[in-house]
Amino acid sequence: MTLARGERMLMRGNEAIGQAALDAGCRAYFGYPITPQNQIPDYMAAHMPEVGGVFLQAESEVAAINMVYGAAAAGVRTMTTSSSPGISLMQEGISYIAQSEVPCVIVNIMRGGSGLGNIAPAQSDYFQAVKGGGHGDYRTLVFAAWSVQELYDLTREAFDIADRYRSPVMVLGDALLGQMMEPIVLPEEVVDPDALPPKPWATDGAKGRPRRIVNSLYIEPLDLERMNRQLQARYDEAAEREVRCATEHLEDAKLALVAYGTAARVGISAIEQARAAGIPAGLFRPISLYPFPNRELARVAEQVDAILVAEMSLGQLVEDVRLAVDGSCPVHLYGRPGGVVPTPAEVVEQIERVMADTRG
């Protein structure tokens, strides 16, 4: 396939994720169909063979994540993608992968939950994504995009971050971001997987070296505690180096709207409408959800009179916001679960409510 690199082109979010993986040197993809992310496996099935990589449709999400585990353990950049119910099925494997220190990329194009829920855009998997999700003392590094371009950029960078921290990295989108088409510019240069640094832990045949073991079993509690602390040290390092956030109109803001992904897209429209009505509101948009931009948000909290959290879930993001703010200003929640995308007018109404409360 010929892509017009370096020029603006129209691309669907799900396809941008697929292309980002290929450009990052990903050479193995395992997945199972689930709406609303089916364009990703379709894209990988069509284009992975062009770069000599592996595409395999697994029999389940459970199998897919364990195929990822094996392929990534052999040292190959590997990805799987799914949507909320499928990501739940992968949690067992993600826990093993994290504890075994194997890098991989997992994309969750979130849909409404719980249960079978629906296939509309949602952010209800926030807790599952940022608090671990599976059993044990691990985290997944999580990055959330708000545009097709950012889905590309974050997915591509996720492979570098995964390798750097030997950790699963999750990219969050939702049904809206995955399905919509937007202008995007693909970089000219792509990663040559053969030029990547060697992985001196990979199980790829003990030729001329001692054997290697990829394992998450540490039967002695003190050994496992040491491993847990080793993972935590990596997360602490990521908290120093990988925090990403963006702000709009915060310079003179009295109210900060905190939102990520599609909710932030709605939020920026709401802020522009509020400002037109004379309300000094600004946007704080976390991009890394774990590590969370605690310090950056704490500084904002000292400057504004109030924070309004807008999330397409019912009180998930707001918990991390409250931890970061630590009581230095009031934090209000506007949550719309179930696959509902709030309108800018609805968010403006909430901004007006919070401003009225704060003045009172």
Partner: protein
């Protein structure tokens, strides 16, 4: 007495085996099967290009016992993990070692689909009719009437359902290149078991597809029997229910022998 210079090594630890003490119970046949696997790896000179996948169950520490690269899978997921390795590195020899709870209960979907795809991996399947590691609970292969900690009055087929014959089940698929059931209850059977493992490995080396050797094994601890009695019990009770035979032998493989 002649000088030592004429001595010759007749029997030694295979290169593929780590020089460590295994954790298996006295009389358990896992050790025999580990040894056969290692001998065959040596004979095909596979140590430097093998990746093995250990299960959850009694063989959970199998990754400690072989000198090749090893992975430790989640319960039942070894065939999926082995698939991941083999797909990205088809030049590697990839095997999984699994028990009956792992392969036939929680991992039956991964097993069937790896077999159906004709995934070019080899699986050693230990069938001892019981969950050993967790305390002797019923397995999918527990015989009718057999007592376990979760079938204290014996397996009642009306309550607990019927045992599964894994080789027969997989033989219905087009993917497998080699399927055999063996036992390791006497020296002749041990030799036959080794031959089956050789053929399974040969199938992968010849890129013929999925291969699996089911090894009927004893669990004296959970069966509550002395080891010799357990061997006899296996021959008397398991072999009639789980016939020892080759179920699938791919055409190309038959010629290679």
């Amino acid at each position: 007495m002649e000088a030592d210079t004429e001595t010759q090594v007749l029997f030694e630890r295979p290169q593929a085996m780590q020089p460590v003490r295994m954790h298996y119970c006295p009389g358990c046949t896992h050790g025999i099967v580990h040894r056969l696997l290692a001998e065959v790896m040596d004979e095909f000179d596979l140590v430097e290009r093998s990746v093995g996948v250990a299960p959850v169950g009694c063989a959970v520490f199998a990754y400690e016992y072989f000198t090749c690269d090893m992975l430790e899978a989640a319960h039942g997921r070894a065939p999926a993990m082995a698939t991941g390795v083999k797909r990205v590195r088809p030049d590697l020899f990839v095997f999984a070692y699994q028990g009956d709870g792992d392969l036939a209960s929680i991992g039956i979907a991964e097993t069937i689909h790896a077999a159906a795809r004709g995934e070019n991996i080899s699986i050693i399947f230990i069938n001892n009719a019981v969950f050993g590691m967790t305390g002797g609970q019923m397995a999918p292969t527990t015989l009718p009437g057999m007592r376990t900690s979760t079938t204290p009055e014996g397996r009642d087929l009306k309550l607990a359902g019927n045992p599964m014959r894994v080789c027969e089940l997989l033989a219905a698929l087009d993917g497998p290149a080699y399927l055999a059931r063996v036992a390791v209850t006497n020296p002749r059977r041990v030799r036959e078991a080794k031959r089956a493992i050789r053929r399974a490995f040969q199938a992968q080396l010849d890129e013929l597809g999925f291969s699996l050797v089911e090894v009927l094994s004893t669990c004296p601890t959970r069966w509550g029997m002395p080891p010799l009695d357990a061997l006899k019990w296996l021959d008397d009770n398991m072999v009639p229910y789980y016939p020892i035979k080759e179920f699938v032998v791919a055409e190309g493989l038959a010629e290679a022998e």
